[in-house]
């Protein structure tokens, strides 16, 4: 692999590139889905290929291929050079790299039991057992249990002399039940919606989720939701559970602080950000309770790796500290726009075929000091919501509307009646400034997001958001009839 990598880099440098790198990636992916009593998906994927990035006259070029023949690698490197040459014709923003040392290193995601070593029979048995419990009521029309793992073996080399090998492993699982009665359908998921919860690690992540043990509760909640009252339309205090907090963090802090987005590089597709560079260091993003930390060294984090796709070491830093905005997510080619001497390591690509771009790292809300009882106790009349079901936010990351699977009335600090179809909306800074309570570390949990889409062509990335339940005041909930 090292020889092939060097061939690509040498080819680019011979043609005048000032920098070149290559990522050779072998990916193994396995997914099983049991749905309504049948094995509906049994996917095994093996992919192998490489992507070459070249900087020439301060412009990027990128080319990828699955053909590992040396002649083809040269050809792909030459295509990347050609693309960079055409980019250099009209440069808006010059791509000037922040310095980073060269590294020779190996890193792998720690795990206890590799999923490839677990017999397929055992995996399917676990899924069928959980799914069977979900279906033990005729009102359940869709019952699903799923698990997956992905292992990426990456070889990264660049023209500065770095050669980094990383083996990244993530695993996850979940169950979902949809109850239908009288034209009404309600879905309940565990431990999270949209495919379950995922972490860095092996089969121990699957076992720790205890799908079978939670299947009955999941089923019963789906059924109860069908008969529940709809979430009322009013302005009230809300407490968001861990699952929904992950989405809140992701959409209204994560994407808003990708520096490439702030610079306008995503303007056509996903949009820009209200959090302009003049806010850096002093903008009141949230209340003093709010501390949001980016950390690609986080154990079990989905974007945890020793180095990003620029070859920059993983770091931990505040994005918001005691409510004040402190830092964007940067890469080697964007760091200079905020006078940062070094990238904070947020460049990643989906697989080998795509060019790395700025991605949200693991981003977590630090725990507060309240017990859950104290958190709820501070609400006289409000609503508790959890497990994300829907999300939409404007192109500047300001106006949002999010929906959850389940909600409960909070009356005098206690959870009361069930509500279905809960939604809430707000504007990002006033919403975070209305946060006046966060539960403590006893309730802090890691929630994995595996479907973050960005870019043209579209790429998917994964990251983890840790959070405890949190309380927000005077929020619009529900939908006007």
């Amino acid at each position: 692999m090292k020889k092939l990598a060097q061939l690509a880099i040498d080819t680019a440098l011979e043609k005048g590139a000032s920098y070149a790198d290559i990522r050779l990636i072998e990916t193994q992916f396995e997914q099983f889905i049991v749905r309504n009593g049948q094995l509906s998906t049994a996917e095994n994927t093996l992919s192998l290929g490489y992507g070459i990035r070249v900087l020439l006259n301060d412009a990027w070029g990128f080319a990828s291929s699955t053909d590992l023949a040396p002649a083809k690698i040269k050809e792909t490197a030459l295509m990347a050079v050609r693309i960079a040459q055409s980019s250099a014709r009209i440069l808006g923003d010059r791509m000037i790299l922040a310095p980073e040392s060269a590294y020779e290193d190996f890193w792998m995601t720690p795990y206890i039991l590799h999923p490839a070593k677990v017999p397929m029979e055992q995996k399917l048995d676990l899924l069928f057992r959980a799914e069977t419990i979900l279906r033990q009521d005729s009102r359940i029309k869709m019952a699903k249990a799923q698990m997956e793992y992905q292992e990426e073996k990456q070889h990264f080399a660049n023209s500065q002399g770095s050669y980094i090998v990383q083996h990244l492993l993530r695993s996850g699982c979940g169950i979902t039940a949809t109850a239908v009665e009288n034209g009404e359908a309600q879905t309940r998921s565990y431990p999270m919606s949209f495919g379950g919860n995922h972490r860095g690690g092996g089969y121990e992540v699957i076992l720790a989720s205890q799908l079978v043990e939670h299947a009955e509760k999941t089923r019963e909640e789906a059924i109860q939701l069908v008969y529940a009252e709809p979430c009322p339309y009013k302005i009230t205090d809300i407490v968001l559970g861990n699952g929904q907090m992950a989405l809140q963090i992701h959409e209204s802090v994560g994407h808003a602080n990708e520096l490439d987005r702030v610079l306008g590089w995503e303007a056509n597709f996903a949009g820009r950000s209200f959090n302009t560079r003049d806010h850096l260091g002093h903008f009141q993003y949230g209340s003093e309770e709010v501390n949001l930390v980016a950390d690609n060294t986080l154990p079990q984090g989905l974007s945890t790796q020793a180095y990003d796709d620029d070859g920059v070491k993983a770091q931990r830093f505040h994005v918001v500290q005691q409510g004040v905005f402190k830092n964007y997510f940067t890469t080697r080619d964007t760091a200079r726009y905020i006078q940062q001497e070094r990238s904070n390591g947020c460049n990643r690509a989906q697989g080998f075929a795509h060019m790395p771009i700025t991605r949200i790292p693991n981003l977590s809300l630090m725990p507060g000091t309240l017990s859950l009882e104290e958190l709820l106790g501070g609400v006289d009349d409000g609503i508790y919501m959890d497990t994300n079901r829907a999300w939409s936010i404007d192109q500047m990351r300001l106006n949002f509307q999010f929906g959850c699977e389940i909600a409960y009335e909070i009356k005098k600090g206690k959870l009361g009646k069930l509500y279905k179809n809960p939604t809430y909306q707000g504007m990002t800074p006033p919403f975070w400034r209305s946060c006046d309570g966060i539960a403590n570390q006893d309730h802090w949990e890691l929630i994995g997001v595996i479907n973050c889409g960005k870019g043209q062509p579209m790429q998917i990335a994964e990251m983890t958001h840790g959070s405890s339940p949190a309380r927000f005041r005077n929020v619009q909930v529900g939908i006007q009839a």
């Binding site: 699955t66 980019s87 043209q456």
Partner: protein, 451 residues
Amino acid sequence: MISQEAARQITQQFFPYLDPKEELETVLKSSQVQSTRFADNGITQNVHIQEAELFLHLQKENRQAKLRITPSAIKEPASVLSNLRQILQNSPDLKITFPFPKKELPSTENPSGFFTNTLEHTPEEKASVLEKLAQQAQKHKNFIAGNYGTEWGALAYSNSHGTFGYHPKTVGYLDMTTTSSETETEGGSLKVHSDLSQISPDTIFQESFDIAERAKNAISKEPGYYPVVLHPKATSDLLYFLVQLCFRTRNYQEGTSFLSHKLGKPLFSELLSVEENADHPALHGHPFDFEGNLRQKRSLIEQGVPKEIVHDQKTAHYAGEFSTGHASAPTESIGPVPNHLWMKGGEASLEELIARTEKGILVYRFHYTNVLNPIELLLTGMTRAGLFWIEQGKIAYPLKNFRFTINLQEVFRHIEILGQEQVTENTLFKENIIAPAMKVSRFHFSSQTDF
């Protein structure tokens, strides 16, 4: 680009190693993308991506095994088969599997929908076009951002009964936003066509620039219910979600779709007719699916009445029907769903729809539309890049953007007039959609944003 012969060789290399009781089908999905992304009047990202995925499906005695592999990862065909057999051995007895087709499939290097000029368009040519557009933008103190790309994709199907099909196609696109550097107002335009020569960059620029100019000094308006005139791009966004929420066959059969138990009932305006038609010259779908079945036209909605759904072999068996050739890649777990949509339009131009509106809002496009409640067809999203107040048949002034929260059935029930059709694109999923402009009598804008 993988030729027909190369695709045949890749997909059929395993057949000599099969046991007599085994059946194997293989599908090769290959693509080449040259995409030049630009922002701030310069190129920010410029990529040339080549990908190939081979899907293998082995069946024997009511058991099956599936594998997806890049051709580069195949060391020996026999060893790939050996992996598949191990998976098969551990798979449950499905009680029923479906035989692979034995019919002839289309196989040609040059179908309609394949244009050499699109395939051969170079990064240098794209840079040259963008250079001129950037100069125009700079003259007007604007920034352009967007994506200018050309793609080639091919689907090849083989099975151990001798069936083979190969179908390539090309897609060109220019998707652009123009933003005023003084007022930060934006306008957008895009065009998608198999033949890149049918896309006029100057026209795209002018359209997006005009909207950005007209959007200056936008005024706030109270959220509420208003009549709207929707540009075809906005209509296509809503149409996409209507079809996804109603016509995913697996959800329909499970009883969890809005459409479950309602096929054949008048649910929408009589003006609404939607066809699933991969053969339409503007939609250029592959003529066969991942199970080697020919893709059929379906009348999804006829004059407001949902009529037909689509099938793969499994859902067809459940319904007592035949596959309509809508099997998606085995890795896509949503099941069969239409994705070559043609909503029939009327005669009126966009200007005529505006002229026939006493008071209302002109919407050019939506942003981040998403589903709040699938079985109630409840959607939310934002307006973007062109929102204007109409008064007495004329555009009166620009508006600040709204969030909308709507019931799709109510929107498609209250169509007053349909405009002319236009080919547009779901920018998220890169699928063409033909949709008209339309005037709807009642549309709910639920809140506002700051710009």
